[in-house]
Amino acid sequence: MSIATRFVADAVTDASESPWAGFVARRIGRLVVSLWVLVTASFLMIHLIPGDPVRAALGNSAPGALIEARREALGLNDPLWLQYLHYLQGLVGGNLGTSMTSDLPVAQVIGDRLPATFELAGLAFLLAVLISVPVGALMGVLTRGGRRRRTELAFTSTSIVVAAIPEFLLAVGLVYFFAVQLGWFPVAGRSDAGSYVLPVVSMALGSAAILSRIVRVEMLSVLGADYVRTARAKRLPNWMIYFRHALPNALTATLTIGGLMLSAMVAGTVLVENVFAWPGLGSTIVSSILAKDYPVVQGVVLVYGLGVLLVNLLVDIALGMLDPRSTIKES
């Protein structure tokens, strides 16, 4: 953990002895540092590109005067520290710059596209959780202590294969089968409820396979834990052992990885959006990269990064509520 985080954490924990205060302070401290890294990285991105980004964007045939004017407008002729300052000022005021291709404010472009991506990632995560928790827990109970080896083999190999198919390929397969062959759902676009099915399913399925494997493994290790033996020694009925003693502990461990998956899903939308021509941030960033519209790329990267950081924070807090020990653990 960085020095700044430690400082914030110490300042707060000194004030009160509650583990929560220190825990929240540490997490917020970490968020602030990560945020700073993210903002700086997105600012530097445009400067790390070899050559002149404006010339790259406008093409070699563009007149020198136009390029110079555009550079001036983007503030690229100022010293780096001043540009950084302006960038930070702009961010605080919600100004992410202006698109080089459409001349629209980047904030407006993102505002238009964000809801579609948010819906897609959120629904897909929900579906993945709804599939993986019951399936994984059930498989864990069924195959505990090496029982039912054949069921275990079938489950493991199916889940490995499903997990190995990347979302966008699964999407292609689903489009071919359910949209082209059967015609049940539209091939692309975002309109009625039916148009959500294929994108959401193709994003959720792989994650569900991975998550359910994790839930099962965690369930197995929890079922082998000493405290589950204690619960059995108390002669509690099986359902109580599974639901009250085992499942919450298995989910605590799953949550950490689940959080990573959710943030991976945020990025995974990029590919799936392109398969389905989904009008979200993912298709925007790709077309902007290809069009070398760097202010938009900068803005979208920032938004994606922010989403990831928020997901991580939420996961940490949820973890703190589920497992009281995690609030006192130093990371």
Binding site: Y176, L260, V301
Partner: protein, 660 residues
């Protein structure tokens, strides 16, 4: 150095070969091999066919001539698919190589450079790891530019943080081990420590992760090329083919599906192979062998094998627990392992009995079997198992459950792990009363507070609302005992209840158990490796060796009147406050018996100074010697530890003992 390296590599090779013997390992290895072969050969063999333009056969569907069809220039897609293997695999491997190298460096830096730099690198890696690989890849793709090289660098740098994190964690884990401290003391420098001691111990997980990483890189590359950010025409990889095929998915689905399938198969080959190896790397599960067929874990009734009396306790009429011919066995790689081999005894009301033995003697399995807590795939058989007069061998019923739940208490060794970490202590105590004594939550919590007071936990009401981690070790063990007396127990089985505690706290817990026994007339079965401790608390002691009771004697007889050579040796081998400092300690030669390979005859014979041919041939039965004293030995003779120590005093024997 060379020997250590070859041995390490040999061990590694052996484990990777073992992976090939599993079905998944064999299939995935074959897949991987064919993908790699194709990657090398296909561009050499079929580049011509793949690039041959045929304007008369544009955008055709599958046909015998073109199994996958043709593209917009009439080029044969099947050959293009095969040839694309080369570039796809090459780029994936290049990206993985970059990722692994950068990751290794970033991961190893904290252990080599100063603490401050190390901390900075670690912080940076931790932040980078939080961002998904694809996002990082796009970030780098912008910087390095759209195209093949840019994409290789982008994916390489995007995989580096997670690899660095893994390397860091692995190095940190190894660095804490004592042999690193020993190497430091021997004057081995930082770099040498890393190369000689740490890397060989973490190489395998790193290689496995790199293999799986290559699969992920392949998929990521397909993704970038599909988006148009990776390979640019006229070059082509699978992602590029997919990109071109998707536009016409209505007309020519094969043009999109075939490259997709190729990506999935190649990715799977890397992934599955990595997983298969990873699986064999984990220590083999102890009871995963074929051995015996799965059996019921609930104790099964068997005919009484011999005319052994189950007990010699004169108070049998009031027995709390009676067991005869108890066997516990688990399937092992070479036939069943039987940690408990025919244990018979009984426990009278309010009696404290100790079970003593070394690790592997079967004492814990005996306790678990009596409590009917042996886990699958273990199997438990007995000719008789009665608790409070109730037969425990017939099928379970709610009534039995309730009786066990209220009258049979267990205290486990590790109070740290034996409470559920996510539930409050109060809830965990209360649920016993709610379940078995028909109390509501409020009553149950009141009872729990009362019980915590009974085990002298201060501020009981406040403690009820706390979580286990807020208790110290001794307090937790008290709470565990408190949970046992939520009902009205007739028996407390305590399995090494003080081993995890400090000496002064040990005494507190033992005193507490004694108090409860006296006040409530509870029988106690105390399992321990410490003979003196058991002798202090218990009235009767059962000494176990290799799954059997070898001696059953009153605690008062322990010091002077034990009959079995093993009991005598145990007493003499452990120094106490009276041991003569000028004499070497008595030594039991050899190792404790291995439960998977118990010798014929008396299991102790190979370590016994009195053993003769008869002992190695025939197993002695536990027979009554005098009132309340049973022993399983062909040559029982009264002796104290001191006498055996004289017999065994030869220093040569002492040194050879375990070595030979």
């Amino acid at each position: 150095m060379s020997t250590s390296k070859t041995a390490a590599t040999a061990g590694m090779a052996a484990r990777w070969l073992a992976a090939l013997k599993t079905p998944v390992g064999a299939v995935s290895a074959a897949m991987l091999l064919s993908v790699l072969t194709l990657a090398v050969l296909a561009p050499i063999l079929w580049s011509g066919q793949a690039e041959e333009i045929n304007t008369r056969a544009i955008l055709q569907g599958p046909s015998p001539e073109h199994p996958v069809g043709t593209d917009s220039l009439g080029r044969d897609l099947f050959f293009r698919l095969l040839v694309a293997t080369g570039l796809s695999v090459k780029l994936a491997l290049a990206a993985t190589g970059i990722g692994v190298c950068v990751g290794l460096v970033l991961g190893a830096v904290p252990s080599l450079l100063s603490r401050r730099i190390g901390r900075l690198v670690t912080a940076f890696v931790n932040i980078a790891v939080a961002f998904p690989g694809l996002l990082l890849a796009m970030f780098f793709a912008v910087i390095f530019g759209v195209g093949q090289t840019g994409a290789v660098l982008a994916i390489g740098f995007a995989t580096a943080p997670s690899f660095a994190r893994l390397t860091q964690t692995l190095i940190a884990t190894q660095s804490e081990r004592d042999f690193i401290a020993a190497a430091k003391l021997a004057g081995v420098g930082r770099v040498q420590r890393l190369i000689r001691h740490i890397l060989p111990n973490i190489a395998e997980p790193l290689v496995v992760t790199a293999t799986i990483g290559a699969g992920s890189s392949l998929l990521a590359f397909a993704g970038l090329s599909f988006l148009g950010l990776g390979v640019q025409p006229p070059a082509y990889d699978w992602g590029r083919l997919l990109n071109e095929g998707l536009n016409d998915i209505y007309l020519h689905p094969m043009a999109a599906l075939a490259p997709g399938l190729a990506v999935v198969i190649a990715g799977l080959a890397f992934n599955l192979f990595g997983e298969a190896v990873a699986k064999t790397l984990g220590a083999p599960t102890p009871f995963a062998g074929k051995g015996a067929a799965p059996q019921r874990v609930r104790p099964t009734a068997v005919e009484s094998s011999a005319d052994v009396e189950p007990s010699t306790s004169s108070r049998e009429s009031s027995a709390v627990l009676t067991v005869s011919d108890l066997f516990v066995s688990f399937p092992g790689p070479a036939g069943p392992i039987t940690p408990v081999r025919g244990v018979s005894f009984s426990l009278a009301q309010g009696e404290a009995v100790g079970v003593v033995g070394e690790s592997g003697s079967g004492k814990t399995q005996t306790a678990l079997a009596l409590a009917q807590l042996v886990e699958y795939p273990g199997s438990v058989t007995a000719s008789r198992l009665e608790f409070l007069g109730q037969d425990q061998l017939s099928s379970p019923s709610p009534a039995k459950r309730q009786l066990l739940g209220t009258s049979f208490a267990m205290v486990f060794q590790d109070p740290m792990k034996s409470f559920n970490p996510t539930m409050r202590i109060g809830t965990q105590l209360a649920e016993v009363a709610q379940r078995h004594q028909g109390m509501n939550r409020r009553q149950a919590l009141a009872r729990a507070a009362d019980r915590l007071r009974a085990v002298r936990v201060p501020a009981a009401e406040r403690r009820l609302r706390q979580y286990p981690h807020e208790f110290s070790g001794g307090m937790r063990q008290r709470a565990m005992i408190g949970m046992g007396i939520m009902g009205n127990p007739a028996l407390i089985v305590a399995d090494e209840p003080t081993t995890a505690l400090d000496v002064t706290v040990q005494q507190q817990v033992l005193r507490l158990l004694s108090t409860i026994k006296e006040e409530n007339n509870v029988a106690i079965l105390l399992i321990s490796h410490d003979l003196t401790l058991v002798g202090q608390v218990c009235e009767r002691v059962l000494v176990m060796y290799a799954g059997r009771i070898v001696e059953d004697l009153p605690a008062t007889d322990l010091a002077e009147r034990s009959l079995h050579p093993y009991t005598q040796a145990l007493l003499a081998a452990v120094p106490d406050m009276e041991t003569d400092r000028n004499q070497p300690l008595a030594v039991v030669p050899g190792r404790p018996a291995d439960p998977s390979n118990v010798p014929a005859g008396c299991a102790f014979a190979s370590r016994c100074p009195k053993a003769d041919d008869h002992c190695t041939r025939e197993d002695p039965q536990l027979v009554q010697q005098e009132d309340g004293h049973r022993v399983a030995c062909w040559h029982p003779s009264r002796g104290t530890g001191q006498r055996v120590s004289v017999e065994l005093k030869l220093p040569a024997a002492a040194l050879q003992g375990e070595a030979s």
